[in-house]
Symmetry: C2
Subunit: 205 residues, 2 copies
């Protein structure tokens, strides 16, 4: 997290920094990004940057966390609209994220984040949905999901189902960028996978 000093800045200056950082993270992935470029673009001295952030990861994960919170709120609305249908909701969430990708302002930034999606980035992203060993967030979702039509014996299984659906969604989003898939193809592929998860892979016949 940014240091307190950052949050004491005027909103204008905070946004100046954030925009400069997003610009740099649009140019290249986190590990190639340079603080030098960010401060040059924002027009602040080098020392100031370190007054506000620990390092470039600090500001990067701050941005990802903000984005994730928005996606989570969006997901909550979607589930409500779909009366707790988990499967339809995930497909709708996928679609809404794709629409966000289409915006040129976000595209490169999100692309770089997804193509370099590692454990820490994924964790930052998903922790706003459910947190390992933190049940409060999980319950909010759990209460909204119509679980009686789900094939689950207990709450733990619900957690695993969410985890699987999330990782499958993220993988499909990564694919969109890696292979520059058109939206309709991406949606078809993801819908198919959600359907397989729904029905199960095993057939008794």
């Amino acid at each position: 997290m940014p240091k307190p000093t950052f949050f004491n800045l005027s909103m204008e200056k905070q946004e100046l920094l954030i925009n400069a950082a997003k610009k740099e993270f649009s140019r290249v992935p986190l590990y190639d990004a340079s603080i030098s470029n960010i401060i040059k673009d924002a027009g602040i001295p080098r020392g100031s940057f370190y007054q506000y952030f620990e390092d470039k990861e600090d500001i990067f994960f701050f941005l990802i966390d903000e984005d994730s919170k928005q996606v989570y709120q969006n997901f909550i609305s979607i589930i409500k609209i779909n009366n707790g249908d988990l499967f339809t909701s995930f497909v709708d969430l996928f679609k809404s994220i794709l629409i966000n990708f289409a915006e040129p302002k976000n595209r490169q930034y999100i692309k770089n984040a997804f193509l370099n999606m590692n454990y820490k980035i994924e964790k930052t992203f998903t922790k706003n949905f459910y947190e390992e060993n933190v049940k409060s967030k999980f319950f909010e979702l759990n209460d909204l999901i119509k679980s009686k039509s789900l094939n689950i014996a207990n709450e733990e299984e619900m957690f695993h189902i969410l985890k699987i659906m999330m990782v499958v969604m993220i993988q499909n989003l990564v694919d969109v960028f890696a292979r520059e898939l058109p939206a309709h193809e991406a949606i078809a592929a993801f819908s198919l996978e959600i359907d397989l998860l729904k029905k199960g892979f095993y057939s008794r016949t």
Copy 2:
């Protein structure tokens, strides 16, 4: 891939380089690894490194690819032993990878790779199992898997099932390292998820 010059080296010198690289990639993840440390450890001049490899990624992905090929061969044997049962085979593969983790020689190196598993690393790893648009590899697996007890309409669905199971397995392996899970817990969690995938998430009742 390493340059031809590398493969012209004596086996001893190749292994010297490989060991030095593994040592450095054990110390820190790819993006923090330094070529300076590798050449210092191997006792070769800086210029020589660039005679053999493009950059540090070049040698890293070469190592990952080698590992992946071994895992793939292992998987083939496991499927045969299990008479094509995909679910049991994945659980067995998971167990065998965990055993490999336990070896101190590999542990840190693999841990760093998994905690920084991004698209390119995952692709390098999975391309030896199935390649998008390259059907030959896929068929080898496809033929071994007893697909008549699977809930699939066509070959495309088989591909998606493999993709999902692989990503779920990788995510569980990442979890092992991120949360330092004991083997029996990791196996229990993965088995549960495989079982959920097998049965399906949706219940008609």
